[in-house]
């Protein structure tokens, strides 16, 4: 198990449809992502707890891409991962944020 | 301990218990009157027939002997593992036994469980664990699964499980662990007849296992989490 933390700045304040949203399940090759609104001085904080150790650089790249698509401010993203591929991670991130902003879980 | 020796120690004033294979039932004499006894021996695997038979005896006691206390002395290695038992719906037989014990409780019978030898997973769930209060002898074995088998399934090295089991009661076999977690109320030692009489005199109340687990620092979350769900806002 490994815990990775990332922080992004320069995002835009958002107007979420719900205070938090969840996507995915903690199962093999999958992950769950919890997105929550939280005052973080404009930051977007990401914490990843993963069963697959040693993939920090890949997480960094996937999350950089995500933040480029969704530059969010004052949002906390919490992830429990069981070795999901970058494609699955990106898909779940988009699902979670769409539910968060659009209101459909 | 051997079941016959156990019965002699529990009921020095006398008992009439019939043994049939791994099953036994009958009555024992206490200072407060007769107690119904139902049990199994030789680490019986509980299959459909045995679950059905125990359930039938519980119903017979409820029908014929209102309010007579029931002492469950179930020695079990767990549910019988077979395709036939699954084909016949063994979980339904286990549930039936559990419902019969509940009917007895609701009809005013005290139900006491005593683990005197072995209590394992499904066999334990459907019997002594359904008692108002469950006790054990210190030499009893209580478990879901031994550590080597647990290691194979969870893929966690057995050495790691052994190390952690020194710190936490949460997964390793052992009557002490079940005591700390509240499922076993007390260990009976010395004068077993006195232990039984004390148990019979104890007040019947709600399922107190979570409270005991919390008080004994063996199960810290069960009680508080259940309370939060029961009383919390949706």
């Amino acid at each position: 198990m490994e815990t990775l933390k990332f922080e992004y700045r320069g995002g835009r304040p958002c107007n979420p449809a719900q205070a938090s949203a969840l996507a995915g399940v903690v199962g093999s090759g999958n992950l769950e992502i919890l997105v929550e609104q939280e005052p973080l001085n404009g930051a977007c904080a990401v914490e990843v707890v993963t069963a697959a150790v040693g993939f920090g650089a890949i997480w960094q790249a996937v999350l950089d891409d995500f933040f480029a698509r969704h530059p969010l401010a004052d949002v906390r993203i919490s992830i429990n991962d069981v070795g999901a591929t970058p494609a699955v991670v990106s898909l779940r991130l988009d699902q979670a944020v769409n539910a968060f902003l659009g209101g459909t879980a | 301990m051997d079941a016959k020796l156990l019965l002699e120690q529990l009921f020095p004033a006398g008992q009439r218990v019939d043994f049939d294979g791994q099953y036994f039932s009958g009555t024992g004499q206490t200072a407060d009157g007769e107690v119904a006894v139902i049990g199994t021996t030789d680490a019986a695997a509980i299959g459909v027939e045995l679950a059905f038979r125990i359930a039938g005896q519980v119903l017979e006691i409820v029908r014929s002997h209102p309010r007579r206390p029931i002492l469950l002395l179930v020695d079990t290695q767990g549910q019988r593992l077979s395709r036939r038992d699954e084909l016949l719906g063994i979980n339904g037989y286990m549930a039936h036994l559990a419902k019969c014990i509940e009917v007895a409780r609701r009809a005013g019978h005290r139900v006491i469980g005593l683990v005197y030898s072995q209590a394992v997973s499904g066999g334990f769930l459907a019997s002594s664990m359904l008692a108002d209060t469950c006790y054990a002898l210190p030499e009893a074995e209580v478990r879901v699964m031994n550590l080597p088998a647990m290691s194979r399934i969870t893929k966690i090295p057995v050495e790691r499980l052994q190390d952690l089991s020194q710190l936490s009661p949460v997964f390793a076999p052992g009557v002490e662990n079940y005591l700390r977690m509240g499922a076993i109320a007390e260990l009976w030692q010395g004068d077993l007849a006195a232990c039984l009489e004390k148990a019979l005199a104890a007040a019947v109340g709600h399922d107190a296992r979570r409270d005991r687990g919390l008080a004994r620092q063996g199960r810290l979350l069960a009680g508080p989490v259940a309370e939060r769900v029961r009383h919390g806002g949706a």
Binding site: S20 | L81, A98, G122, I156
Partner: protein, 292 residues
């Protein structure tokens, strides 16, 4: 388009079975009530510990509902998971909903916290019976990928009814457990046809272990759950004596049967070997009046 109950997640099942947007979760993922024991064993935890509990409405009636997520550790019961279920059942004693719905999907006790899980299942059993004793029906929906086994298989049969799809298996020891312990000649867990006709929904319905067989569709489960709202719990001595007689007859009539097909034939069903191929509606028509 019909939504498969089997393929849906626990959250999707709750959303589809209950009245639209009626579900309010208690201790949602943001509360982060997770299992400390998994972390201790270097195993990832889930924010909801694999079970969603809360309040909602079904056909306009207030209900409490829980759904186990099989994708997380096979829906296995640990300390927190079990406590959420116990708390929900006890909440029913206070709020007196029309029913409690259990969308089960579980392999039984979670081995990483086996003792806590076993005790929790036992507390769930006591709590289910307390809720039924208070006159509130407890309705089980079983149609997930992991079926319902171990202690949860016992819990399911403590309830008022089990609504099941053919895919939703129900038993005590899973086929894999029996094969591992007793050998492949006792139970070949890779023989899917054997597994389904032994522990699958059709056989469970014919035995009388499940109350209704439905198609693998969330709408079918919802419709059956609405019908089940009318059930009245009966934990009387007479009810248990009737059940006892039925279970005794089952051993007498079918105790020597080698296979589920033998039991179906003994029930008077013509060409029983075709049953696994039938859609739920045809199955229900053909087997009407022939269930044990």
């Amino acid at each position: 388009m019909t939504q498969s109950y089997y393929e849906a997640s626990a959250r999707e099942r709750l959303a589809a079975v209950l009245d639209p947007s009626s579900f309010q979760e208690i201790l949602p993922p943001s509360a982060r009530v997770t299992s400390p024991h998994l972390r201790q064993l270097d195993t990832p935890a889930a924010f909801d510990d694999g079970i969603i509990v809360g309040e909602g409405r079904l056909d306009g009636q207030p209900v409490l509902a829980a759904a186990q997520e099989g994708g997380f550790m096979g829906g296995a019961v640990g300390e927190v998971h079990g406590a959420k279920l116990v708390g929900l059942l006890e909440r029913a004693l206070d709020t007196r909903p029309t029913a409690v719905l259990l969308l089960v999907e579980s392999g039984g006790v979670r081995l990483h916290e086996a003792n806590a899980g076993l005790i929790a299942v036992s507390e769930v059993m006591r709590a289910v019976l307390a809720v039924r004793g208070a006159g509130i029906p407890v309705i089980v929906l079983d149609g997930g990928q992991f079926g319902c086994f171990g202690g949860m298989g016992i819990v399911a049969r403590l309830c008022d009814t089990v609504i099941i799809s053919e895919e939703g298996r129900l038993g005590l020891s899973g086929p894999e457990v029996i094969e591992t312990t007793c050998g492949v000649e006792e139970f070949d867990s890779r023989d899917r046809a054997l597994v389904w006709r032994t522990v699958g929904g059709k056989h469970r319905t014919l035995l009388g272990e499940a109350g209704e067989l439905v198609a693998d569709a969330t709408a079918a489960f919802r419709a059956a759950a609405i019908r089940a709202l009318a059930l009245t719990p009966d934990l009387s001595l007479e009810a248990l004596e009737r059940e006892h007689a039925a279970l005794g007859q089952r051993i007498e009539r079918f105790g020597d049967c080698h296979d589920a097909v033998d039991i179906w034939r003994a029930l008077g069903i013509e060409a029983p070997e075709r049953l696994p191929l039938l859609e739920a509606a045809d199955f229900n028509t053909i087997t009407a009046g022939k269930r044990a």
